[in-house]
């Protein structure tokens, strides 16, 4: 993994979002730089769901935020419908963000605790939507209804009167009120119970069909990502490891890191034998000073000399299945 390259990109006019060589770096005290995202490229077709999966600290949330230029990436290109977003003025970007919306991990803290639900959901319309109050109210009611919240009951209530799952529904309603094209979901179900998680995942599938959405779904839970995604990209320490159709990737992972992730995933089936070997604490290397060559080599059982000297490039191992690895498991 830990590789670069663009072999997996499709032709530009087929795609709604196209990201090339995206780099996001932060300066931290002491004159050091955190290399959160180091040159990743991917694209998304209209109506597709792309899953971004990886451990915490791999840069998946940073990537999601960089798409809507919050903050602007250090370098690289992000194109939405062939328009380069990195070059837009803040005003032009502000206008474009109505098409690119985001929902977050913690549904309770992403809603203002002092405001009523109707005001929270109507807020984006105060700036962009119809100015007519009756029309606004109608739109709020419609959207609340389609996320499974009864508008009659919910309208005047405060966020603390709702459960985590309901708060996530309300923040989904807020993100959809301006009828966006792309919804970036940053770990939207990680803070929820399994039963709420299933409800929200089903809801996102339904809304995707109803509103013709394109989803970017960021999560660390592999089973969740597989369930919702058409295509999955595995990230490690700011780089892409493997990109493939969801079913293909889970059936035949070829990157050692994807394999490690899948093997670690607890399956609700007691007849599966678990590899119970106890290993040393192997931590994610620091993104301030990432390993040379392939970034995964320090944890990879197949690493050889070439892995430290040369960064692997994306290559097609099977139709529409790309991997950046010197020793893919094929």
């Amino acid at each position: 993994m830990a590789g670069s390259g663009k072999a997996h990109l499709r032709s530009e006019d087929e795609t709604l979002i196209r990201v090339e060589d995206l780099v996001v770096e932060y300066d931290v005290p002491g004159g050091e730089t955190v290399k959160a995202v180091s040159g990743i490229s991917f694209d998304i077709k209209a109506g597709e769901t792309l899953g971004l999966v990886g451990e915490s600290g791999c840069g998946k949330s940073t990537t999601g935020k960089a798409l809507i230029q919050l903050p602007k990436p250090t370098s690289g290109s992000v194109k939405h419908k062939l328009v380069e977003l990195t070059g837009l003025s803040s005003e032009a970007m502000r206008r474009r963000r109505t098409d690119l919306q985001m929902i977050f991990q913690d549904p309770i803290s992403s809603l203002n605790p002092l405001r009523k639900v109707e005001d929270i959901v109507a807020e984006p319309m105060k700036i962009w939507g119809p100015k007519d109050k009756t029309e606004q109210k109608e739109m709020v009611d419609n959207i609340l209804d389609s996320v499974g919240i009864d508008p009659e009951q919910a309208r005047g209530k405060m966020p603390h009167e709702f459960s985590g799952g309901q708060c996530q529904r309300i923040s989904i309603a807020r993100s959809l009120i301006l009828d966006p094209e792309v919804l970036i979901c940053d770990e939207p179900v990680s803070a929820l119970d399994v039963s709420m998680q299933a409800q929200i995942l089903n809801l996102l599938e339904d809304l995707k069909k109803k509103y013709h959405l394109t989803l970017i779904f960021i999560a660390h839970d592999l089973a969740v990502v597989k369930n919702i995604s058409d295509k999955v990209a595995v990230m490690y320490l700011g780089k892409l490891c493997e990109v493939a159709q969801s079913d293909e990737l889970y059936e035949r992972p070829v990157h050692p890191y994807s394999k490690l992730l899948l093997d670690s995933c607890p399956e609700p089936d007691p007849s599966i034998t678990i590899d119970k070997a106890v290993s040393d604490d192997d931590e994610l290397p620091s993104p301030i000073n990432p390993p040379s060559g392939c970034r995964f080599r320090t944890r990879c059982p197949f690493a050889t000399e070439i892995c430290s000297s040369e960064e692997p490039q994306m290559q097609e191992v099977r139709p529409d299945h790309y991997v950046a690895c010197h020793h893919p498991l094929v």
Partner: protein, 376 residues
Amino acid sequence: MNTTVVSDAVVADANTSASPLLVVEDLHTSFSIPRGEVKAVRGVSFELEQGKTLGVVGESGSGKTVLARSIMRLNLGNNVTTTGSAKFRGLSILDQPPKSMRQLWGNEMAMVFQDPMTALNPLVKIGRQVTEHVRHHLGISKKEARSLAIDLLNEVRIPEPESRLDSYPHELSGGMRQRICIAIALACEPTLLFADEPTTALDVTVQHQILNLLNREQETRDMAMVLVTHDLGVVAGRTDETMVMYAGNVVEKTSTHELFNNMQHPYTEALFRSIPKTSERSHTRLTAIAGRPPDLIDPPTGCSFSPRCPYVQPKCREEKPPLIPVNDGSHLSSCWFPVGTEENKAAFRKNVAEGLPQTLVVEEALTDNSNEGSES
């Protein structure tokens, strides 16, 4: 490490090898709050033998953490009431004064908590946190304690243990902090370990390692372990027995293998169906559990799962089903219409015909997925 068990006097001669290590009977815990009495645990009974593992599974609010804390006597505050009995090696824990509990904590029974970030004191170096209670229980010198701490950190596979002893918690990763918490819990060689969602805050790869570590320690020390989790995947390969809790009650309890192969309670089935699995194709429709867990101040009469159950019948709303053995005797379940029976199928058909929302949700997902299956 050798242990001189200071608490032998407390545990007294009740330690007969025939009786299980832990026997809990009809345990109730409630919290009084201004709005009323929150009945968090409502009559839980179970036994745990030395060296065995018990998984406790349920949604948040099902009472699994309160249960563990009640047995550990960690529910503090004047508004808590615990009744029933919990016997550890024959000793009635609920009647012990706090002073005797101090002899048991760490020494005989220990706990690993969910959030390794907050379980450690941010102002105290790792070395002191690992050995504080060891020095209290075993009365050893600082120097001996330090070498014991190095052994422990080695055992939980923390690289360079010596230098880590002088680190503060914020200098370590989440996985490493949880390893430290495990080292603390194991330091005095307890015979009973409660692990309360020990991996929920961690990444999958780290979760895998931490569970492996807990499993190995539990086996080599012949320690009994209660693994509390909301994730059926976590209990699947790692526990001998599993207890499913809902609204403060045990709804099903049996060997883990039997539970997954022969689910009896509709809640267990619903919980299992609602989780996405990597073995299923992408876009498989999940069977979400309709509604929310009940208000524990005023739980429903009858079966507490009845408002969300796809098989609910009038009897379920009126009469609470007892936790009784099914077929082989060790498999307990509390349901009037157990999954797989003819009565259950009839109840489902009846509810579909009546258009009961929670039944239609299940019906819809089942048809949806079987259609997709035939297409592909």
